[in-house]
Symmetry: C2
Subunit: 648 residues, 2 copies
């Protein structure tokens, strides 16, 4: 059987597959992400592609309409490759799942991701090892050992303000004379100054690693970056084990205040988590902890305070004041982190109590601070922050979305972990398909699954605009539960636990409050500056949960604004990616400092219009359908939904 | 009996004394230093003053000639005050003893000493406590605690690069809220950056002290400076207890290399000494160690290395390389010093292995770096360094004078401590008068005493130009000892030990080598730049021993160049005074950094002419009498000296 070359646009990635293979498999072989919920069963209709050149053989499907078929749309799982192809992945097929992770390390370093339009920051990591082959001292050139080093450093680099610790000076003379005046100096950025962190004998300049870490309320994710090459050497993630002290930030602050040694326990917990991640990465990479000389961390302000064991009580008390928005660079060991004993820890600068360094990192990662175009950023994590602005100004707020998107507060809600239903599709025949993370049977439903479920139920007419089940339509799966009407998502016999997975109208009400809070926060920022959603040219989505969202569905329920899909861009874990960018580039860190200092925090509680707008948002997608014209249009296309779904 | 007002010029100090009192007592009452060896017995003729206005009653004396008497010269001890007086102290009467110490704290801070022509540095100490009365946070002004502090600091000062340690940030939130947002920040200079060293509740801005310390090879001297007022609160000095490991620097370096834990013992020794001084000053001033936030130290390069426990072995091995000429600022506790736990230690910058920060301090103290006039500086300590230059250039060398001036290597030589003969006069009748430090009987003779002794014996014809006793003249006191001819300075029955105090020709030979080394070093610097002594407009004398030298006698023996007395200026302990100036003024520290970086070290061993010139200097005052015209003139005035002293 002949081989065919399938080239995917716009990434220009390709795969060679035998004729007869499905397009879905070809995409997988090319390393190209294609949306799919049903896993290739032709049920969900998510894997839409457009054939630009070449021929495929497609099975008939009711999931595409005539116009679409005429324009070259096919379902990837239902189409066999017949020859060489050029295939386009339309935004709705790529704008879900994990696309941002695929190319994350390429972001803004030399190779710019196709999504990124911003500046390429020079590779100039916060910790630099430079090899110094010094001319041995003689009577005519009798500089002191330290001045000899400084002179050579000045020849190689232009770091104006240098400092060196006593322990480092103490070791220098012996090293120089023990090794033919050849040493490697580790230069660590410390604010505006550069510290000679250590000297090592000989040339160790290729053995230098840094850690970028996103300290989320729910998850902690770390990258080990080879600071000589700029490549990511290892990745690790874990749940934030502070969860045992409370799901959200406020609960943990209360814990710190009320429990004996509470703050210390929180601090120890996060330090242990990060050290575990670092150890795992170091082990995986076969390097030594001694070679890890720098850590850059970002996270919400409370997490960063806990890492440094700073006072957090004032963060939750009016007027909500952190100890420091920017914590000074310290030796990592001072915070309890186990890397090189003299290695440094830099936390990215934050804005205030409710907009932390994770959001600064998001902005840098997206490059919002450099674009003339108006951009909007949603950080969809345990809470939810929104940023609006451009190269001239930036305004941000915290959305108080609550933990619903992380599965918190919902009966069958779980985090996006093994066994979580992360994608749901409901077709016109009422068949419900879902996709589970990992290989196990489902245990519950996570945020992205909930968005899909709500959107699909709404679009197919099972759910009305108020978030109530339309019993006539959804009768087969909806029943009266203990707490009111509930939908059986997965019957007991098909779950990992042997218990049904259900979603009740009560669950949906919580969920709708969360999505409404985020949408209204963005709306409030736009109102504040007198702009409309239509003027927003780019929408960035960041955050652990954000990366798994189906943008079309998120619009359908009114979480995200109703804008053309090609304006949406995933930046992955912006907190992690921004931290890694700063670790790899002093320019990026300077940009982050500039962002944090000029970003204005807008306190939603001071906005007279906010509560009214929030109340209006507690519908699917919104009380005011003019704000969601594409959803209105779609609903009109499906009479059943228009008829039933629109009852008040 | 009526009171008379006696006013002394040029200091314009005055005293009110009863008529009939001696001028010597009046000077003492006015706090004016008047040279005197015999203590008021009319023997030494050192206490010459000039009556400018008013009347005195003087006893006849052979120690003044007719011209002098006609010009108003009197001996202070032999003249009684009869009415109000204006009395001038001529240079030869002030240029000895401790005059520099009298006004040392006035040097260059607001009140400029009459000796100083240089710039007055702004009072701006390296550690500054500033009281911050912050506007309490509210929703409209919700900066983080640290940013709130930084904002207020920026309002009060213009320190561009700030840093704050973790422990300091940790304490801030509680302090602000516990004390109505009123705190005092201690800002410590750390190279080009400023560290917020600590926060304290309330206003403690008047409780801030710093220590300036001169770490000499033989003595350690410290001042406690009130950093709020700029006043010296206390002074202490001690012998460097490292002396038990060796008299000079080279012996101690060998000790560090050869003894187990040798370097550590040296380090512990100097740290203990300094801590003892600090404790004594703190106790005397009734303050707390916590209030001492900064230490500035100067000393030779080996002493500074030992304080920091840096490698010293390479200082004595060709090509003589220190670990660091400028040791970075560290926390004082890192070096073992007990002040405020977060207080800082800054050692002034040095030039190289043999010209340390003590010499930089001298230059700053003298203001040589600012004057257009050519100046020469002698630092007469255990070794001896010489600096030549002006505002455009500075060149320095180390003279290798050896420890003779500190009493080392001589049979009856002792340091300038209680019981040391510090001044000697021999009158024309051959009567020998001496002055002892403290109230005890003499135990030995120190450097300044030796200079006086050699000069007076030489001038009165007891000693010839080769440093040999003229037996015909000095017969009564010179005898053949075990090691050749020796002079009995004090007979056994008048000493504290019951043993004679003697000086042999062998002692004098060692002493002459020392004085020759210093003179020739200065000559070599002048040769190097093509200048002569006559072009030198100001000669500064610094150093523990230097302060007790009678300049006229030092010229007579050829230690100092033969220049008019009014060109000589004592700057006291330049290392201490320069350190204190830097402690009190960032500008002064910057000047010291500039001096250290532009001062050229001239290695005398590379000077082809040096050894020949040194050999020529091993006479009294020199082989070439044209270099000492005033001495030649004086010798011609005393026929006996001309006849006997000039053989050879």
């Amino acid at each position: 059987m002949k081989d065919c070359v399938v080239r995917f646009l716009p990434d220009e990635k390709e795969a060679r597959v035998p004729a007869g293979e499905t397009l879905l498999k070809a995409a997988e072989a090319a390393g190209v992400y294609v949306n799919s919920v049903c896993g290739g069963d032709g049920l969900c209709g998510k894997c839409r592609l457009i054939i630009r050149e070449g021929e495929v053989k497609s099975r008939p499907t009711a999931l595409l309409d005539r116009d679409e078929i005429r324009n070259g749309y096919v379902l990837a799982c239902e189409s066999q490759v017949l020859g060489d192809l050029r295939v386009e992945i339309p935004p709705e097929t790529r704008l879900t799942g994990r696309p941002a992770f695929t190319g994350e390390e390429a972001l803004r370093f030399g190779r710019v991701s196709p999504l990124r339009k911003g500046k390429v920051y020079a590779f100039d990591p916060l910790s630099r090892k430079i090899f110094l082959s010094l001319p041995p001292a003689n009577m005519a050139d009798n500089l002191s050992d330290l001045d000899r080093v400084y002179r050579e450093v000045a020849r190689q680099r232009s770091d104006p303000v240098m400092q060196t610790g006593l322990a480092t000076v103490r070791m220098l003379s012996g090293l120089l004379r023990g090794g033919n005046f050849e040493v490697t100096a580790t230069l660590g950025q410390r604010g505006k100054t550069v510290e000679v962190v250590q000297f090592e004998p000989g040339n160790t300049s290729t053995r230098n690693y840094g850690v970028a870490v996103d300290i989320g309320t729910t998850t902690i994710v770390a990258n080990l970056l080879d600071l000589a090459s700029g490549e990511v050497a290892s990745r690790q993630a874990t749940y934030n084990s502070q969860i045992r002290f409370g799901e959200d930030v406020i609960t943990r602050i209360l814990y710190a205040q009320e429990e004996p040694d509470g703050r210390e326990k929180l601090h120890d917990s996060v330090v242990t988590d990060i050290n575990d991640l670092i150890n795992a990465m170091v082990e995986e990479s076969g390097i030594s902890l001694h070679d890890v000389t720098y850590v850059v961390a970002a996270g919400n302000t409370t997490m960063i305070h806990i890492l440094h064991d700073l006072e957090i009580a004032n963060i939750r008390k009016d007027p909500y004041i952190p100890a420091a928005s920017t914590v000074p660079v310290i030796r990592a060991a001072e915070a309890g982190l186990s890397i090189n004993g003299r290695g440094l820890l830099c936390c990215l600068p934050g804005v205030g109590a409710f907009v932390g360094s994770d959001v600064t990192a998001d902005v840098i990662c997206a490059g919002m601070d450099e674009s003339e175009e108006l951009s909007l950023l949603f950080d969809l994590g345990t809470n939810g922050e929104v940023v609006l602005g451009n190269a001239d100004w930036l305004i941000c707020c915290s959305a108080s979305a609550g933990p619903a998107f992380e599965g918190g507060g919902l009966k069958c809600g779980i985090r996006a972990t093994d066994g979580a239903i992360e994608r749901v599709a409901v077709n016109l025949e009422g068949k419900l398909a879902y996709k589970v993370i990992g290989k196990s049977r489902p245990r519950g439903i996570c945020g992205s699954g909930l968005i899909d479920l709500a959107a699909e139920l709404f679009k197919t007419g099972w759910l009305d605009r108020a978030g109530r089940f339309v019993r006539e339509t959804a009768n087969s799966r909806v029943r009266e539960g203990e707490n009111g009407p509930e939908l059986i998502v997965v019957p007991a016999e098909k779950t990992a636990t042997g218990r049904e997975i259900t979603v009740s109208e009560g669950d949906l009400a919580i969920f709708i409050r969360s999505k409404g809070a985020i949408y209204t926060a963005a709306e409030a920022l736009l109102n504040r500056v007198g702009c409309s959603f239509q003027q927003v040219k780019r929408v960035y989505i960041s955050g652990g949960f954000g990366n798994y969202v189906d943008v079309g569905n998120a619009i359908a329920i009114g979480l995200l604004p109703d804008l053309p899909l090609d304006r949406f861009h995933f930046i992955g874990n912006g907190s992690l990616n921004g931290s890694r960018m700063c670790l790899a580039s002093r320019e990026a860190l300077e940009a982050a400092e500039a962002v944090a200092s000029r970003m204005t925090y807008f306190d939603l509680s001071t906005d007279a219009k906010f509560m009214g707008d929030f109340t209006s948002s507690l519908f699917l997608p919104h009380t005011d359908m003019e704000k969601f014209p594409s959803v209105a249009k779609m609903l009109k296309m499906s009479p059943s939904v228009t008829a039933k779904g629109r009852r008040e």
